[in-house]
């Protein structure tokens, strides 16, 4: 069946707004979408708009089908799949672009607006920032305005449409908030669809080559935030262990696959005071869970202690997680180890870094004991010409040799690596730990921000009966790095020597304030889950909130709010109030017991009822004349009182 393809300009009052709301809904997707999808959307919108202004026909069905095919293949070629948030939103965007081309009637725009809502939804699945909420409300305002313009009076000014839809949103807001708070949250998803993670996450990886961590040190991205229940440990004790790298191939260090090891907790003996803190971890897409030194108790699901005394999670951390950990700084880990196991921590490839091995052997012979040897190596780093820098020179095939004997400039991973190789060369089991060191205390939110810049590498050495002991060679070279942390040394001027430049102080303060706001946002809005909900309900007086109880409360509250809304609307649309004179006169009429006829004047009514009721004729005349005066004479406030007394007297 052939359809007329012509346009008549009747969409000019609504289509631009529909396209605008689509564009706004698409905006957060743009960085993730293939470039051509954005271009296609803009192209189709502009083309369609010019078609409408020129009253030209829309492109033919065949041409549109061809375009649709092309776009579909394009998406398939870009993503290899069409499921998931990434390809899904690309598909939605191209669908919107093609549908814009096809739109001829006013009501075709319904589909476009539904697509816009879905686009907003999928952008929220991908990222949820503090500004996502205002963005979501603004987009909704645009969409609903476009909706009004599509279904409303074509001659209505845009401002009126915006005001009306703004009012609708304002009315809807209390219902939305109540439902948001009360809707029962469940912690486990029904089914798992991977959320798009194509955007790279900066952070630690399970390999460490020279230069890996120093590349992180300029990143201001937040790794996690920690809120301590009690006092915050001193900076030099803030060693956040994330993963342990036991394998060395002569150049880089590598971790084992994160595994569960039965009884790993029993290998750890703790002493002293526990630190209890809550970590809000940003997504890493990795399986390790950073915790202060040695964790003793934790509440993160699917998480257990691995054989390296670190926490591993069964599923990668693909969204922000919050967990509480109890850690000890004074501990003894794995005091006894089988020989076979021990050999893993001694491995150095044959013939790699020969000069280092030689030096270590010589120093060990000279020192006499293992403990003395360690002290000697640290003293060497401290006293000789070693420099701590974020921009270390390139290293050749034997990087440890090159670092120790030639360049002597390095970042924490260079020192840790060199130290560990020296230990292994003389038969002391050692391993590299990577994680974060320090963190900046944010007084505005009373929590510790640990950034990617705080990434650090250090070593642990093992002695029979004592277990693993932390040794941080960086502390010997740049003690300020450990004592003060990256952020503070940056502002102290010390960081300058390492290649760090500090931002303006006010900017830093603003960053801290913004971060505190974000932390609160993450905690109260994004992190609102079963636990938070239960706590909130408890504080509101609901005992043991169950799914049933919450749902019943939700229904009751929403019903109440809807009733309120109905009342407000009733007031808005109420007929004009009857004036006082009419009210008084009606009272009198009621008292007479006679119903006035249609169109009967008060005088005629008075004449008709005269004598028929128990009321004196004089009183009736008085009421009638007072009413006529109050009603029709210009502004005489006294006549109202007169009417009132007359009505009262007429019995």
């Amino acid at each position: 069946m052939a359809k007329a393809r012509g346009t008549d300009g009747s969409l000019l009052h609504s289509l631009p707004w529909t396209m605008a709301s689509l564009a706004i809904a698409l905006l957060p997707h743009v960085p993730y979408l293939p470039f051509w999808v954005t271009i296609a959307f803009i192209g189709c919108s502009v083309w369609r708009y010019s078609i409408e202004t020129r009253r030209a026909p829309v492109p033919s069905t065949w041409f549109r089908a061809f375009l649709a095919m092309l776009c579909f293949l394009g998406i398939l070629a870009t993503y290899d799949t069409i499921s998931g948030v990434g390809p899904g939103s690309a598909l939605l965007a191209t669908m919107a672009a093609l549908k814009i081309l096809e739109t001829r009637r006013l009501r075709d725009q319904f589909v476009l607006l539904f697509i816009a809502i879905f686009l907003v939804m999928s952008s929220l699945l991908r990222e949820q920032y503090l500004w996502s909420l205002p963005y979501l409300v603004a987009t909704l305002l645009f969409i609903m305005t476009a909706w009004l313009r599509m279904s409303g009076n074509p001659r209505q000014p845009v401002r009126t449409s915006f005001r009306t839809s703004g009012r609708m949103l304002a009315y809807a807001a209390p219902i939305a908030i109540a439902m948001w708070i009360l809707f029962p949250r469940i912690s486990t998803p029904f089914w798992s669809v991977p959320i798009d993670t194509s955007s790279g996450v900066t952070g630690l990886s399970d390999r460490m080559s020279p230069g890996d961590i120093s590349s992180l040190s300029l990143s201001n991205a937040v790794a996690f935030r920690a809120r301590f229940d009690g006092p915050v440990p001193a900076g030099r004790d803030l060693y956040w262990r994330a993963l342990v790298l036991p394998r060395f191939n002569g150049r880089s260090w590598a971790a084992w696959e994160p595994t569960f090891r039965a009884g790993a907790e029993e290998q750890v003996a703790v002493r002293g005071d526990a630190y209890r803190y809550q970590v809000t971890l940003e997504p890493t897409n990795q399986q390790w869970v950073p915790a202060l030194e040695v964790p003793y108790e934790w509440d993160l699901d699917h998480t257990s202690m691995g054989r390296m005394q670190t926490l591993n999670r069964v599923y990668p951390i693909d969204q922000r997680m919050r967990y509480t950990v109890e850690s000890f700084i004074d501990y003894r880990a794995e005091p006894y180890m089988a020989n076979g196991m021990r050999r893993w921590f001694l491995g150095v490839p044959e013939g790699s870094n020969p000069r280092t091995a030689e030096l270590a052997q010589a120093m060990h012979d000279e020192a006499g004991s293992d403990q003395e040897f360690i002290r000697a190596v640290l003293r060497k780093f401290h006293e000789e010409e070693f420099f701590y820098t974020l921009e270390p020179p390139q290293l050749g095939s034997d990087p440890v040799d090159g670092f120790l004997f030639d360049t002597r400039r390095g970042f924490c991973e260079h020192y840790a690596s060199a130290f560990s190789v020296m230990m292994r060369s003389v038969g002391i089991p050692s391993r590299i730990v990577i994680g974060y060191q320090g963190g900046e205390y944010n007084p505005r939110g009373e929590y510790l921000i640990v950034r990617q810049a705080d990434a650090h590498a250090w070593t642990e050495v093992w002695f029979e009966g004592i277990g693993w002991q932390r040794v941080d060679p960086t502390a010997a070279v740049a003690p300020e790095r450990i004592e003060m942390g990256i952020a503070e040394s940056m502002f102290d001027g010390i960081g300058e020597a390492w290649g760090l430049s500090a931002p303006a102080e006010w900017l830093h303060q603003a960053t801290l304030a913004w971060d505190a706001l974000n932390a609160r946002w993450n905690e109260w809005v994004l992190g609102y889950g079963p636990t938070t909900q239960e706590a909130l309900m408890n504080s509101l007086g609901m005992e043991e909130p169950s799914w049933r109880k919450l749902m019943l409360t939700l229904v009751a509250v929403v019903a109440g709010l809807t009733l309120l809304l109905s009342g407000i609307l009733m007031l808005r649309f109420r007929p004009p109030p009857k004036d006082r004179a009419t009210v008084l006169y009606r009272r009198f009429v009621k008292r007479t017991g006679v119903e006035p006829r249609r169109g009967e004047t008060p005088d005629a009514f008075a004449a008709r009822i005269a004598g028929g009721t128990g009321i004196a004729e004089a009183a009736i005349a008085k009421v009638t004349s007072a009413y006529l005066r109050a009603r029709y004479a210009e502004s005489d406030p006294a006549s109202l009182d007169e009417l009132e007394t007359a009505v009262r007297a007429a019995r």
Partner: protein, 342 residues
């Protein structure tokens, strides 16, 4: 873009049948419940009905899907979006209904038409509240005739055309007022049953036999030209009287319009007599008479109409024309009560 395979086409038809049945039942129920309305009616909340539209159902389905998505991803911001949409649904429902409640509906009259034309019923709708009412539409048998916005205090006449096919009274048993405002998620409407009707005159035949040209008509003209009429006195001026017959001198004296009457004026005009029309069928006769009346009126001639039982002496003018045509329209019809609607 897509066409439905032939074997599924029956389903929509079945749905339509069901919908028609449901609508008829609902209308009958509402009629019984509301009774006959006066020609001045205010819409109360009790008589404004509301149902979701197909767009509203799609919207609800979308919202439900989004709720499932939000629950699955435990995404608090998409919960916000979802619940905002739910809230908008509630707001839309109440706004839609309140948009109608309180409107004042008045019957503003209907002009007579000839059978075959549509009688234009004028319904005045006034918004005496302080807020504007948007997208108010009047409809008849499911077809919306006009949609307007009503500003606060605004009163507006909507026209409902009712097609006629035969002469007689044209009742408007029922019409509806509806709105889809704000987002077309809901349709709220009110049915109004006023006891109002217009009149459809018989359709004038296109080709009519010549009217009986009585000599008296000719005589009248001759008299007129010669100025030999027998003056028979003065009477009060009636709209439709010829200015020639106005007693202007008397007007100048007394400030009162008077018409001169002439003896034998009754016989000086043409008579259209039902019994004289040469047609077998009553309706044909009425149509021919209508044509004569219309033509004579257009020519500003005096004419009289004689129907079995009624007689209109010759005269002319709008009022006379109306009386005659009305008599033709209602000739032989039993005045039926307006209760026979279904």
């Amino acid at each position: 873009m897509f066409s439905i395979p032939w074997r599924y086409r029956r389903l929509p038809r079945l749905l339509q049948t069901f919908q028609g049945f449901a609508t008829r039942r609902a209308r009958r129920w509402a009629r019984k419940r509301q009774g006959t309305d006066s020609t001045t009616t205010r819409l109360t909340a009790r008589r404004v009905y509301i149902l979701p539209t197909s767009v509203g159902l799609v919207f609800a389905l979308t919202t439900f899907a989004m709720l499932l998505g939000s629950m699955n991803y435990n995404n608090n911001l998409s919960f916000v979006l979802t619940f905002f949409l739910v809230g908008l649904g509630f707001v839309s429902m109440h706004t839609c209904q309140r948009n109608l409640v309180g409107l004042q509906v008045n019957f503003a009259g209907v002009e007579p038409v000839f059978a075959g034309q549509a009688a234009q019923f004028e319904i005045a709708i006034s918004n005496d509240s302080k807020s504007p009412r948007s997208r108010i539409g009047l409809y008849l048998d499911g077809i919306t005739t006009e949609i307007h916005d009503l500003e606060p205090g605004e009163s507006r006449v909507f026209v409902v055309p009712v097609p006629t096919d035969c002469r007689g009274r044209v009742p408007l048993y029922r019409f509806g007022i509806r709105t889809l405002f704000p987002f077309e998620f809901f349709r709220s409407w009110a049915w109004i049953h006023m006891d109002i009707h217009g009149i459809a005159y018989p359709a004038p035949v296109d080709i009519a036999p010549r009217p009986p040209a009585s000599q008296m008509a000719l005589g009248h003209r001759q008299h007129d030209e010669r100025g030999e009429e027998d003056f028979a006195g003065l009477r009060r001026f009636v709209i439709g009287d010829s200015p020639r017959n106005v007693a202007w001198k008397a007007y100048a004296r007394s400030d009162q319009l008077l018409s001169k009457r002439f003896a034998g004026a009754d016989t000086s005009s043409q008579w259209f007599d039902f019994d004289d029309v040469e047609a077998a069928d009553v309706e044909d006769r009425l149509s021919i008479l209508t044509r004569w009346v219309v033509d004579a009126d257009r020519a500003s001639e005096d004419y009289g109409l004689r129907l079995p039982g009624v007689e209109f002496p010759p005269a002319h003018g709008e009022a006379h024309r109306r009386r005659c045509l009305e008599a033709l329209a209602l000739f032989g019809l039993i005045e039926e009560a307006a209760a026979n609607d279904g």
